[in-house]
């Protein structure tokens, strides 16, 4: 038993540390984190804008500007949700930004746009769940529609949808593992390259999986802490 654990550790050291191969994993991890963080921010901003457009159109169906915007965002959401992310990534890299030499930026944009479509639906549900009386109270004080949205409705909406938003972040974090398709050496790609170099699949791939798992668990923990902090105002007696 102890023998076999010892050989396993020896193999891990051999495969991950010879020629500083663990640096590949660390650099990949760095890229994965950058990709997810940047694109989740783009996703939330984009998703919020789309959701506000949709809800505003719902509230004022006759406003012509909103009607045009609503068509645009509806097409956006349908196209993004209706096509695989890998295909979107390939199109972004080899068609839309074919002349770009910065695949990381392309991937961030692509994942951000992708995530925005999903976030927008979550956000829309969150906004609609806030009592309409809140809007009326804001407007009756003389606040503009968008000021009311920003200061009164969105903070409550985001609080309501935090679990769903956290889930979206987790999905996104794992989704970035397809970045290797456009030759970005993210965590997954790094693990795969080590597999290639060492003819050993088990250790590098399991290591990669464990790193993802740890990140997701940490993220869940962080989110539940945030949720608790935000529910401070809920203390009913």
């Amino acid at each position: 038993m102890i023998e076999s654990i010892k050989t396993l550790i020896d193999r891990v050291v051999d495969i991950l540390f010879t020629g500083n191969r663990y640096m590949m994993l660390l650099n990949g991890l760095k890229l994965t984190v950058i990709l997810s963080l940047c694109s989740v921010i783009i996703g939330i901003v984009l998703g919020t804008i789309v959701a506000v457009v949709k809800v505003s159109h719902q509230n004022r169906p006759r406003n012509i500007v909103l009607r045009v915007l609503n068509v645009i965002v509806t097409v956006y959401v349908q196209v993004i949700r209706g096509t695989p992310t890998v295909v979107q990534l390939l199109i972004m890299n080899f068609v839309v930004f074919a002349s770009s030499r910065n695949p990381v930026a392309v991937a961030i944009l692509c994942f951000g746009i992708n995530s925005g479509a999903y976030v927008s639906e979550i956000m829309r549900a969150g906004i609609n769940a806030v009592d309409y009386g809140q809007t009326e109270a804001g407007r009756s004080l003389g606040l503009s529609y968008f000021e009311t949205m920003k200061s009164i409705i969105l903070p409550q909406a985001i609080k309501n949808i935090l679990p769903a938003l956290g889930n979206e972040f987790i999905v996104l974090l794992k989704e970035t593992s397809i970045a290797g398709y456009i030759s970005i050496q993210d965590l997954t790609k790094a693990g795969d390259l080590i597999r290639f170099a060492t003819f050993e699949a088990f250790i590098p791939l399991i290591t990669v999986a464990v790193i993802y798992l740890i990140m997701v668990l940490g993220l869940s923990k962080l989110l539940s802490m945030l949720e608790r902090r935000l529910s401070k105002s809920d203390n009913r007696h």
């Binding site: 009592d131 109270a137 009756s140 004080l141 503009s144 105002s233």
Partner: protein, 240 residues
Amino acid sequence: MITVTDLHKKFGDNHVLRGISDTIEKGEKVVIIGPSGSGKSTFLRCLNLLETPTSGKIFFQGQEITDPKCDVNAVRRKMGMVFQHFNLFPHLTIRKNITLAPVKLKVMTEDEANERAEQLLKRVGLADKAEDYPGSLSGGQKQRIAIVRSLAMNPDVMLFDEPTSALDPEMVGEVLDVMRELAESGMTMVVVTHEMGFAREVGTRILFMDQGKILEQNEPGEFFRNPREQRTQEFLSKVL
């Protein structure tokens, strides 16, 4: 201060307001009563354009607010509104609830707004609640805060939409006390309510609405002693 001419409001096929005309003078305390579905709340909500009138005109301080070019937000700053369900902002402390609008609209600096909030909270006896969240308050306390929140904008008129209807009976008094005190301070008030005692005591004029029209109006003493219309008599015999 407020003049309404031939106001109509339809919700689809439902003709809720059928031609309302009235003038509310500065300092008046107009109490609107009537059976449910008579259009009282809709009328009140038209006054600050929470409902858009289907036709008719509303003038506020000489300005036609039903004109599409009118800056509705500027008008609403001068008209406070208190809702049946309080509509406090649950994610903000009481202090922030009160100071949000004055600060965002640059009517006051943050310091001035805080000072004003404290002063108003003291006036309604809730100075110790400034840092609490609405979730921890009773209904009566919430409604008193909602009144304070409107007053923080220094409005010229206050609209009350059934302010005590969602309250437990023992809490009605504390809210009416605040409203009574506000009336004594000279505020122009338009109140939709089912509290006949309040209407009689505080109102300077009672409007009785039925089926989207003002059926009868009078000063409270005369109104409750000698209602002219049969519908008014029937209504009063049920609620008094």
